[in-house]
């Protein structure tokens, strides 16, 4: 066996698994599991990223592993698309594993060693999802991923909320998996061969292809958090430990995107443009919904969970755009939209993981998740705050960081929709652009709130002991992810070259060598639009440096310290700062019909005034509550069978026996 990227990657997957098993030697020993095994896992993640980058520019490799059921070996395939996602998994997990090494401590939850096993099985299964080249291998890896992440979510399994959050996650994961199973059943097109090669060759009727596409959208949408299957995200993320949230939001959601791209671009060769419209609309609505809901959250991890929904919405709308262009036979534009989409996947993995890890550090330092009790952490946790600032700027889509590049590319491809040969879409396209712009703007608003309430101002809980900054390993993880965010923003050429390979493979056309140079990015032509991240970055750096120098050198020593004008209030307390609820209030008012709001305002005569706002998701009442009621009603009927009387139970089996015998007769 020669040393090809695929064999290296398989060895790394096995090594992850082995690292997980090693944790069982001393499951309660934090030093062994945390300080030794997790950094090892991080190193393997880095190695996987390197191997995957090599593979993107190498030839497609396939391999058949003789494991699994008899006569059903595992088919594996490493092409540019899977290599891109493997690189994403590798790069992101490097940072998360480093952070996790310092994060996990002993406690009343799952033992660290057991968690290490679940964690590394989770990583390995995600890599296998991306590598799988037949439906069986894919489903096995997919379900392993769902189960291992379920156990990770329920680390604090004694808390009732965590139990119910875990159950909701598992339920939706399984409903999605059933849909995927049906999707593969349709895709094989009567050949009863479940390899992806057979599915590519299967000639599906357009109607059946649409059915398969719809099932895939439902199944992968349930994993990714597409409207209205998003309900598990805001529950599961706050329940899970922060590195797990980071891994799930940053990496696992991307495997759903991978699956969607794999099915819609690779396994279904004849794209219909209507699919693109559906995906675009659903994605756009999901994005807007996520952004609006993120704005009114007061739990920092719920806020990030809704923000993940928003980003998934953006990614899906980009995917829909790529499908639309492809269905219309416009290869280059489709390549642009797909490149922007996949680029955003990579970026979101970096900054969202970074921010989830930041919440982990904040929670360790203060024990608080509620934004209403945090504040002023900038002084106590300068490292964490600095990294959080990079993460928020990147996610808000500000140049020269990575969020800007992908959102800009996405916007460029949106702006090209007028060239579509279809009037109705041409008329609807501006609406899509507006929704996209609104979503990204709201996202920035959310991030101002996130950073401002947590790190700026003064601590809202004066009694809390001063928070301590993150430890060395945690810091290393944060720095890694912040650095990748900056690098991906400054050197988009690296990513776009890789994405050209993916585009050539999936769509058959690419943006070309000229689209991106070290110095600038010109997606189509220099007359239309171009962006030079390095120049902009250097410009911003120079401006900041000059301002800093001006303030420090020229203005230094003339600062006068005195009590500010108190606006007539004699007393100020930290509780009087703007709160998360207050900051989100305008959005709550503007988007009133989105929410179901219960508000409890104090009267003038209350001795202990209380203000309470509960914002709930309308979708829950619209879709989930009726289903739950139906299930409960059916269960009540079934429960009549259970009377606790043993004679009755015997009678049941007796009656069954007699009926069956009479049937035989």
């Amino acid at each position: 066996m020669s040393l090809t990227p695929l064999s290296i990657i398989l060895a790394l997957v096995l090594a992850w698994f082995a690292v997980g098993l090693l944790g069982l030697i001393a499951p309660r020993n934090v030093a062994w599991v945390g300080r030794t095994l997790f950094p090892l896992g991080a190193a393997m993640g880095l190695a996987m990223a390197v191997a995957a980058v090599l593979a993107i520019f190498g030839a497609t490799e396939t391999r058949i592993l003789a494991i699994g059921l008899p006569d059903l070996p595992m088919h594996l395939r490493l092409d540019a698309l899977s290599a891109f996602f493997l690189a994403l998994i590798g790069v992101t997990t490097t940072g998360i594993s480093l952070f996790a090494a310092g994060y996990f401590r002993g406690g009343d939850g799952t033992a660290p060693g057991l968690m290490g096993l679940q964690y590394h099985v989770f990583l390995a299964s995600m890599a296998m999802v991306v590598l799988a080249d037949d439906a069986f291998a894919f489903m096995v890896a997919w379900e392993t991923m769902a189960l291992s992440s379920y156990f990770l979510v329920t680390t604090q399994h004694r808390v009732p909320e965590v139990q119910s959050a875990g159950f909701l996650y598992l339920l939706l994961a399984h409903i999605g998996a059933i849909s995927l199973l049906l999707c593969f059943g349709v895709l094989q097109g009567g050949s009863w061969q479940f390899t992806f090669d057979a599915m590519r060759a299967a000639d599906l009727a357009p109607a059946w292809a649409s059915v398969a596409f719809g099932l895939a959208l439902f199944g992968f949408g349930a994993k990714a958090g597409l409207l209205p299957l998003h309900v598990w995200l805001p529950e599961a993320h706050p329940a899970a430990p922060s590195p797990v949230s980071a891994l799930m939001s940053g990496v696992m959601l991307k495997t759903a995107i991978y699956g969607m791209v794999r099915v819609s671009f690779d396994l279904l060769p004849h794209t219909q443009w209507r699919w693109g419209v559906v995906v675009m609309v659903v994605g756009g609505l999901t994005g807007l919904f996520g952004a609006v809901f993120a704005a009114v959250q007061s739990d920092m991890k719920r806020l990030l969970a809704y923000s993940s929904i928003e980003n998934i919405g953006l990614i899906f709308s980009g995917l829909g755009l790529a499908l639309l262009f492809r269905g219309m036979g416009m290869g280059t534009l489709s390549a642009l939209a797909l490149a922007a989409t996949l680029y955003h996947c990579l970026n979101h993995a970096q900054f969202k993981s970074l921010l989830f890890l930041v919440t982990g550090s904040v929670m360790h330092a203060t024990g608080e998740r509620s934004l209403g009790k945090l504040g002023g952490l900038l002084r106590h946790m300068p490292w964490v705050a600095g990294m959080a600032l990079i993460g928020t700027l990147a996610m808000a889509g500000l140049p020269p960081l990575n969020g800007f590049v992908s959102e800009w590319l996405l916007l460029q491809s949106y702006l090209l929709t007028p060239s579509l040969p279809h009037t109705l879409i041409n008329m609807l396209a501006p609406l899509g652009v507006a929704v996209f712009a609104l979503t990204t703007a709201l996202a920035s608003y959310v991030l101002v709130k996130f950073f401002g309430v947590i790190f700026l101002g003064q601590s809202r809980e004066p009694t809390a002991p001063p928070a301590r900054d993150a430890g060395l390993l945690e810091r290393a993880g944060l720095i890694w992810l912040a650095a990748t965010s900056v690098l991906l923003g400054l050197l988009p050429v690296l990513v776009l070259r890789a994405l050209d390979r993916v585009n050539l493979e999936l769509i058959g056309s690419s943006l070309g060598e000229r689209a991106a140079t070290w110095w600038s990015v010109m997606p189509l032509s220099s007359e239309r639009a171009s962006y030079s991240p390095l120049a902009l970055g250097i410009g911003i750096l120079v401006c900041v440096a000059l301002t800093f120098l001006l303030v420090r050198r020229l203005y230094h020593g003339r600062i006068r310290l005195c009590t500010p004008w108190g606006c007539g209030y004699p007393q100020w307390t930290p509780r009087m700062q703007d709160t998360a609820e207050g900051f989100g209030q305008p959005i709550r008012r503007v988007f009133e019909p989105f929410f179901e709001v219960q508000r409890q305002t104090p009267t003038a005569f209350d001795s202990a005034p209380k203000y309470r706002v509960v914002v709930t998701d309308r979708w829950w009442g619209l879709i989930y509550a009726p289903i739950i009621r139906l299930v409960q009603m059916l269960s009540r009927w079934v429960s009549f069978l259970q009377q606790g009387n043993i004679s009755l139970y015997l009678l049941y089996s007796f009656a069954t026996l007699l009926t069956l015998l009479a049937f035989v007769l």
Partner: protein
């Protein structure tokens, strides 16, 4: 020829007695008498198995007969009696459903069993094949007995009687099951009884009674 028909008459007689004991068990109130009836049933079973063995020259059936004699006539009744003594329920009575109703249901079951066994018996070559219906009837009557009882001990006896019926069906239809299976079943019954004995103590400790009505409290609302 005469010898064969004599054997077959003996087997039919045994089968009739078996059915009779099954009906007797269905209507017997006393737990201790139930155990005695069970022992009688075992004896009849053992004798008729021996007759089948003698008439058909199937030597392994002698072992089966000896096994059921040992197990069902001596060992299990002994265990059950000791259990009743230690649980102090030897003289317990049971409230039954009305006896005539139970009997009528039993008769319907016997008819059903006979009509069920008819097509199967046609296929069999055993000399005792016409008793298959009775064997099935015994199984069903024992099942019915389990349904109508409230006390845990009598349900176990019903369970054991059901096994008797199955054993009889096996000998009458196919000259017995393979030896391994028979040994296995015999051991299962023995172990099952022992385990159920342990359960009796647990149940009584929990509810101060062996009445299974109390188990209804365990139901989740």
């Amino acid at each position: 020829m005469l010898k064969l028909s004599l054997a077959s008459q003996l087997i039919h007689f045994g089968a009739a007695l078996l059915l009779l004991t099954a009906f007797a068990m269905l209507t017997q109130r006393r737990v201790l008498s139930l155990v005695n009836l069970f022992a009688w049933q075992g004896l009849i079973l053992s004798v008729s198995t021996a007759v089948v063995a003698y008439s058909s020259v199937q030597h392994h059936l002698y072992v089966s007969a000896a096994l059921s004699l040992l197990l069902k006539v001596i060992l299990l009744p002994l265990i059950l009696r000791r259990l009743l003594k230690r649980l102090n329920v030897r003289w317990d009575n049971e409230t039954l459903l009305s006896v005539p109703t139970t009997m009528l249901v039993g008769i319907v079951l016997v008819v059903f069993a006979f009509s069920l066994a008819q097509p199967i018996a046609e296929l069999s070559t055993s000399i005792a094949r016409s008793t298959l219906g009775i064997a099935l009837a015994v199984v069903m009557l024992s099942f019915l007995m389990m349904i109508t009882r409230r006390k845990a001990v009598s349900q176990v006896i019903g369970f054991l009687a059901m096994e008797n019926g199955l054993f009889f069906a096996a000998t009458s239809a196919t000259y017995g099951m393979p030896m391994v299976v028979e040994l296995g079943v015999a051991l299962d019954v023995l172990v099952g009884t022992l385990i159920l004995g342990v359960f009796f103590f647990q149940i009584r400790e929990q509810f101060d009674s062996l009445d299974l009505q109390h188990l209804e409290q365990l139901k989740e609302d």
